[in-house]
């Protein structure tokens, strides 16, 4: 039988080939039942092989939850062997050459659904992959210099970098080689194998642009140059402990200037400290940001520097460091004309939005915008050919789910536009409001709550209609959408962001999105948006229109959207959002009860809908609304520079939501905090009713921890964190309540059936007697 191992032979690097062989052996052992499900799950995750929605063998088809008849073999806890999964491919700094693009196109065609999906961290994902195919995928990728190693799991993830690195006008220097060196040096390193959670690195060339969003990474370097003894010395302004996720954290300054030769040793030392002191049991507290928060940045820095000083020399870091200059790119084609005349029509608009004139005279970087980050196998193959003919070897994925072609001679831009147009990839939308970012959401992600891609597609379609005629200030806004609070769509750093949640309306579950306004994309994700309340999914497009119209009408001078939000204040913005919160009854408009792009009646996973509990729902909804109102008040207090009051108001909001649940079981429960928390703990936490399928006890811990005592520092950061936690706690309370309703409905149905059976039996008995 043919196999790729024999066909590719020496093209697969020996060490990678050996590791892939080992994984293949682990697959055989799992199939034979000789490797634990849990162990195998981590092994495949570390090779970027993820689970996907419905891989527990259950799917709601719009009428009922049905079992998908997979065989019982498992590839992880609750994860069936034959269920399709996702394969993530690491693309360090987003860099790909045409041969690699062609191979990825082939893999998508042969093993996936013929779509290559570019992620917000410059990876490529293939969906609907069968586990038996992944070994061939690994081998074929290895043969062209790509890997999936540590693309998931508790490891060093893809190292991202600004896609304009090396061609940017304002960068201190090209960070490409440094990103690549970090990626190669840390991958599989013994000091990065004992983490409780993932570890993400990013590099930017400039401080004031968005570039690689250094502020939201565990380890982020911004290029800096200093003069030492009359010589220019390269280094990095180094930030640590940032991250989005459920509760976002801005990274803290670790070093104003870390000399370039210290980059790899410092990253390694940090890995050793994180591995030794980071949380291992509670994964919800295991990211580096929690360790930095717990220790404080000064103590964390001291520990890392002490580790660095005591760490044994590792000759390999010099080897990787010496490779850095080799990453500098050279153009493949000479420039014939340094400048080009004004172009007309569609090309003109495209050059305005999608073309960046490089630092190197006569060259440009062209952005290929991908709708929802998707590119088909056929398009990818043709784009590889276009890349070769216009940009040589130089394409990069971006964190906005696009692909850039670098080193395109300016005098060939018009021809390039024509070629891209022929394959449907010449949309003039890069960096505009039309170019909506979205994570996979409920399409394929196990954690997705609402359809981020469905909403993004709807917004993209609607907003495309106004392209070119819209006010420039609106055109440059960014919309980013996540399917849940985990922030893979980076909603925290968008002008207008959304994340999926749900609400129970009249016994039905309705898809909603939490509205996040005023995040900052510039300055490497310099400020986070705050939650403004949830609106039903189907009303989000109307809300976007209202927000952008309001911005145009009330904008002062050259005011940014973030500045506008700050000036008019959250109360006024909340007023706009509140106009779109109403949900018509199911009878009046059932479309609200299914999600964008999915005609099935909306449900939360396998949860059945609760019916016939209208009065109880109304009482609970009232309580949750009060909690949401207090959470909003906390945000206002924070904006007014009152972090202590904001903290107390957020705590009160959590108590309100918890009390609402308690009173579902004990109507007359006293309102004091001690009783609320004690009863909430006994009835909902210890019973497991409040437990989230994926987040465990994370959300209940927010209340319990705050009840133990406030963070006495009362800073803006601590209050902001508590407000984020409060919003998540309230969402979790909504979900818990929906579970209670579902359980009530099931019990009612069972009781009715029993009564009917008893009645029938009784009737039959009577008949017999008769």
């Amino acid at each position: 039988m043919n196999n790729w191992k024999d066909v590719l032979g020496d093209a697969i690097p020996e060490d990678q080939g050996r590791e892939i062989d080992q994984f293949e052996a682990q697959m055989a052992l799992r199939k034979a039942g000789k490797t634990e499900e849990k162990v195998f799950a981590e092994l495949r995750l570390r090779r970027g092989t993820y689970g996907q929605r419905y891989d527990n063998g259950q799917r709601h088809d719009g009428q009922s939850t049905r079992r998908i008849g997979y065989r019982e073999l498992r590839k992880g806890p609750e994860t069936l062997w034959d269920a399709p999964g996702m394969q993530r491919i690491k693309i360090p700094y987003g860099g790909m050459n045409p041969a690699q693009m062609e191979l990825v196109a082939d893999l998508a065609e042969e093993y996936s659904d013929r779509i290559c999906h570019v992620t917000t961290r410059q990876d490529i994902q293939l969906h609907f992959i069968h586990i038996e195919d992944v070994v061939s995928i690994y081998r074929r990728l290895a043969a062209v210099g790509l890997t999936t190693k540590e693309a998931c799991g508790n490891a060093v993830r893809n190292v991202t970098a600004c896609p304009l690195a090396g061609v940017c006008h304002t960068e201190a220097f090209d960070v490409t080689g440094y990103a690549k060196a970090c990626a190669m040096y840390l991958m599989g390193h013994p000091d990065t194998q004992d983490f409780g959670r993932k570890f993400k690195l990013a590099f930017s060339g400039c401080k004031d642009k968005a570039c690689a969003l250094v502020s939201i990474h565990d380890f982020g370097g911004i290029a800096a140059v200093r003069e030492v003894d009359g010589k220019e010395v390269r280094g990095f302004e180094l930030y640590v402990g940032g991250g989005l996720g459920a509760v976002p954290h801005q990274a803290k300054l670790f070093a104003e200037f870390l000399p370039e030769e210290e980059l790899l040793p410092t990253a390694r030392a940090m890995g050793r400290v994180f591995g030794r002191l980071g949380e291992k049991k509670n994964r919800n507290k295991a990211r580096l940001k929690f360790l930095v928060q717990k220790l404080g940045i000064d103590e964390f820095r001291r520990l890392v520097l002490a580790e660095r000083a005591a760490m044994p020399e590792d000759p390999s870091w010099r080897r990787y460091f010496d490779e850095i200059p080799r990453s500098e790119e050279k153009p493949a084609y000479p420039v014939v004309q340094l400048t080009v005349g004004k172009m007309a029509g569609a090309v003109s608009r495209w050059t305005e939005t999608n073309v960046y004139e490089q630092r190197q005279p006569g060259y440009a970087t062209a952005t290929v915008s991908l709708p929802l980050g998707d590119i088909s196998s056929g398009q990818m193959r043709r784009l590889a050919d276009i890349t070769r003919r216009f940009a040589g070897e130089h394409a990069r994925m971006t964190i906005e789910q696009s692909i850039v072609l670098r080193w395109v001679p300016m005098d060939r831009l018009e021809a390039l536009h024509g070629e891209l147009d022929r394959i449907g990839l010449a949309d003039a939308v890069a960096g505009t409001i039309v170019d909506v970012t979205a994570c996979p959401g409920t399409d394929t992600c196990k954690l997705g709550i609402a359809s981020s891609r469905g909403l993004a597609d709807e917004l993209r379609t609607r907003l495309s209609a106004g392209a070119g005629t819209r006010h420039a200030a609106v055109d440059s806004l960014r919309i980013k959408i996540s399917g849940c609070f985990n922030s893979c769509g980076q909603h925290h750093v968008a002008d207008i962001g959304f994340y999926g949640n749900s609400r129970n309306i009249g016994g039905y579950t309705v898809p909603h999105f939490q509205v996040m306004l005023g995040g900052q994309w510039r300055e490497n994700g310099g400020a986070f948006a705050l939650a403004m309340g949830s609106v039903p999914s189907k009303r989000v497009p109307e809300l976007v229109d209202a927000l952008t119209e309001g911005f145009v009408a009330e904008r002062q001078g050259e005011e940014s959207f973030q500045g506008y939000c700050q000036r008019i204040g959250k109360k006024q913005l909340k007023g706009v959002v509140d106009r779109f919160t109403a949900v018509p009854s199911h009878e009046d408009d059932p479309s609200f009860y299914s999600d964008w792009g999915d005609p099935r009646k909306y449900t939360l996973g396998d949860m059945a809908e609760g019916e016939g509990a209208g009065q109880v729902v109304s009482a609970a909804q009232f309580g949750f609304s009060a909690a949401e109102g207090k959470a909003f008040e906390a945000q206002v207090l924070l904006d007014e520079g009152k972090p202590r009051q904001a903290d107390e108001m957020a705590y009160d909001a959590m108590l309100e939501a918890a009390r609402t649940l308690v009173r579902e079981q004990w109507t007359d429960a006293p309102a004091d905090a001690a009783t609320t928390v004690r009863e909430f703990n006994a009835r909902f936490v210890e019973s497991g009713l409040f437990r989230d399928r994926f987040a465990g006890d994370q959300f209940s811990n927010y209340l319990l921890a705050r009840h133990e005592g406030a963070d006495a520092r009362y800073t803006r950061d601590t209050a902001h964190k508590l407000i984020e936690e409060t919003n998540l706690f309230i969402d979790a309370a909504h979900k818990c309540h929906a579970k209670m309703l579902a359980a009530t409905a099931t019990a009612t149905t069972a009781a009715t059936a029993t009564t009917a059976a008893v009645a029938t039996t009784g009737a039959a008995a009577s008949a017999n007697i008769g």
Partner: protein, 202 residues
Amino acid sequence: MMGMELMDTHKIVAKVYFADGAAVDFAAVVPVLHQWIRDGALADHLMIDVADYAHVQHGPGVLLVCHEANLHVEDEDGRAGLSYWRKQPVEGADFAGALAMAAKSALSSAERLERDLPGGGRFDATRLTIRLNDRLNAPNTDATFAATEAPLRALAERLFGVGATVARVATGAGLFEVELSGGESAASASAGELARRIILHS
């Protein structure tokens, strides 16, 4: 290529095109495929989910994801149609058996779509495209054509009668592809009638 490798080539694609080059309303296809899952419409297939890529120009369109195969309504090669992409081996079948399964599944699904899609839509039952989605065992080479020609011709004659042709389609770096067409009984049949001409041996 040796006969043994050909036996391993189960990743067969069969595509039947809409008649008259009609464009496809992808949005109308999505609820139909969800209904197919509820109805268990594809015999011998474990139906999993529906994926919508209508936003990608000439992409994979809208697909019904099954364990054994993906079923697409797409216009990937510039022509709208229904394509069946086999992923798993057909138990107990050789290449000819797997080929028959792919062709029958595509044609019978096309017949069902003609019935279920609002506004109808007819398929062109005078031709059927076959691709081999397997660069390892069935690269786009003359050797693959030589090794597969006999079973392909047998299928063509069963579908379209005496005189049916098997024409290799040049696709450059793409997949191995042939078009089955012609023959004395090609013009009169529907997709459903073609499907019923294929007999599967279990």
